[in-house]
Subunit: 344 residues, 2 copies
Amino acid sequence: MASPAPPQTRSPELRHDPVTNRWIVFSPARAKRPSDFKSKTPENPNPSNNTCPFCIGNEHECAPEIFRFPPDPGNPEWKVRVIENLYPALSRNLDNSSEQSLGLDFPGRMLSGFGFHDVVIEVPVHSVQLRDMETREIGDVLLAYKKRIEQIMSFESIKYVQVFKNHGASAGASLSHSHSQIMALPVIPPSVSARLDGTKEYFDKTGKCSLCVVHTEKLLIDESTHFFSIVPFAATFPFEIWIIPRDHSSHFHELKCEKAVDLAGLLKLMLKKMSLQLNNPPFNFMIQTAPLRIKESQLPYTHWFLQIVPQLTGIGGFELGTGCYINPVFPEDAAKLLREVDLP
Amino acid sequence: MASPAPPQTRSPELRHDPVTNRWIVFSPARAKRPSDFKSKTPENPNPSNNTCPFCIGNEHECAPEIFRFPPDPGNPEWKVRVIENLYPALSRNLDNSSEQSLGLDFPGRMLSGFGFHDVVIEVPVHSVQLRDMETREIGDVLLAYKKRIEQIMSFESIKYVQVFKNHGASAGASLSHSHSQIMALPVIPPSVSARLDGTKEYFDKTGKCSLCVVHTEKLLIDESTHFFSIVPFAATFPFEIWIIPRDHSSHFHELKCEKAVDLAGLLKLMLKKMSLQLNNPPFNFMIQTAPLRIKESQLPYTHWFLQIVPQLTGIGGFELGTGCYINPVFPEDAAKLLREVDLP
Ligand SMILES: Nc1ncnc2c1ncn2[C@@H]1O[C@H](COP(=O)(O)OP(=O)(O)O[C@H]2O[C@H](CO)[C@@H](O)[C@H](O)[C@H]2O)[C@@H](O)[C@H]1O
Ligand SMILES: Nc1ncnc2c1ncn2[C@@H]1O[C@H](COP(=O)(O)OP(=O)(O)O[C@H]2O[C@H](CO)[C@@H](O)[C@H](O)[C@H]2O)[C@@H](O)[C@H]1O
């Protein structure tokens, strides 16, 4: 059966206003996404797989596949699938983005919305969550991210690739089948620029990468052969967790196979501890990596990590207005609690 | 009766990590706030005034009053009250903040959490929302903000004052009685720095303030004598509204009395239109002003405005990870809809 046709709408656009000083993605197609969360309640209703496009057997209801593991497209027994997003925020069919002039009317800038927006279906079965998968299977999901980034790298105008996962309705998920997303952008996003500026400043002052020296007892949760997990010193959110490679490495996609399995083990442990300690909260995780076409001189102070954020508190006008956050839990207290969680 | 005692907890702290490159407010007292929203549902349950500390007659249940309008403290018939927040994110009792050294353990910085966190009770009666008040009364709320900022200005270490309002549980409100908040910070928050950088760049290129030239037909919603309202060219959120003073002005607190009433009228109109067009959504508004101790040279390109954000869509890992936002509604379409709302 043919893949469903993506909805026809005006093409996406990126716009930049000097006042907010950041790029916004305008994407009318996104308004049309389906949701299997009836009303956006924090619980996960986990509806049956009859209606879920991500379930094994329902591949024809999905936008086109990019690749699968194992890689044989004729083998119906897939483990992980990377597919196009049916309601992409950016379009892979637009011309490579070059900045457009706006005439004299607006004091802003504009780019056509060229980019990639893919979905990673992490598991064929509807009811299985990432933390319940085998370590080796979670490793395959991480390697699927890596492979997809390596493919996207060939597009000169893509500057940054964001891998992220939404779990639970109040963490933004619109479908409950375990999945993550990969978005490839023609601009370097503001949080990434801020991170490069901050770590550069620290490097210039001390000659050190701030993530190479962050390994401290009070903030430590757990360790594996190649990674360690902490609650960061100035965590933005309560019980935020970072999983950091021990050896300095700028790009997530440099991850080697054996390290992927090691990372998968620590990720699984963190998700299990978080679920137990915080009562299965909605959460997001994000891979914080370096821009694709980064200057050699920036490599010594960029160090990728995986950031996990349980959604426990909302935000309000203060955070929207200032970009500052209020965290009611001191990181050393959160780290102690997570360190001491006893898994059954 | 004496005011209730604020809960005793560890003092608030500001921390800065080079990796996120922003200050986070750590504030254990905030974990103890009451909420009259049982579970954070989007509806406003509007409980009775028996239990509401902000209702007229329940003043003894509030943290200490700073001032009221009309100013006679003996007159029980107040219109607006500015009070201390009982669960302040920052503490007015700490020493003025000077940066603390952290030893060698953390690659981060730390400030004691000195600052002010006040609540503005906008109306004595529980069931009245801001948009239903008389224009003159809304003007008094705006003048209460102005007066409080002018008081706070005398503290040398306060760098920025954020005025904001949360309406509805999913916009962060924990109490439904109409109110707003004022938070005075010992640092310049990241969104404000980004705004100064962006408008400076535009000014350096064109010799113009970007908000002085933003008045364009396609984005315009409404106008008053001294203000106009638009959907900004690169709105971060669908149906976001900015109310902008026509004449260049850097600081909100420079607002004159007669302009406050004019602004109140346009604010009331925007809140009414938004409520009608979008079915009484939860929303936030924020006053985007300039830092208190701003350099003379920055004044030509900073122009304050009032930002209104209806909460229509959530966010997910993409936004958390990148600081980039996806907006499904083009600003010119939102502006047209809001322009054409017919008020009864
Ligand atoms: N048949 C099909 N084939 C292929 N793809 C399909 C499909 N049916 C649905 N999809 C896509 O699957 C994705 C599922 O993603 P999530 O549940 O993680 O959150 P979503 O992207 O909806 O939005 C959340 O994450 C984004 C990004 O952080 C936020 O902007 C948003 O507010 C938040 O709700 C959607 O993007 C959807 O477009
Ligand atoms: N008796 C009393 N006397 C004086 N003050 C009293 C009081 N009882 C309660 N308060 C205070 O009144 C305020 C009411 O504020 P809001 O309802 O606007 O949201 P809140 O600050 O709770 O949090 C929202 O806004 C903040 C800031 O944006 C976000 O951090 C948060 O996630 C979001 O829920 C609270 O700050 C509370 O501490």
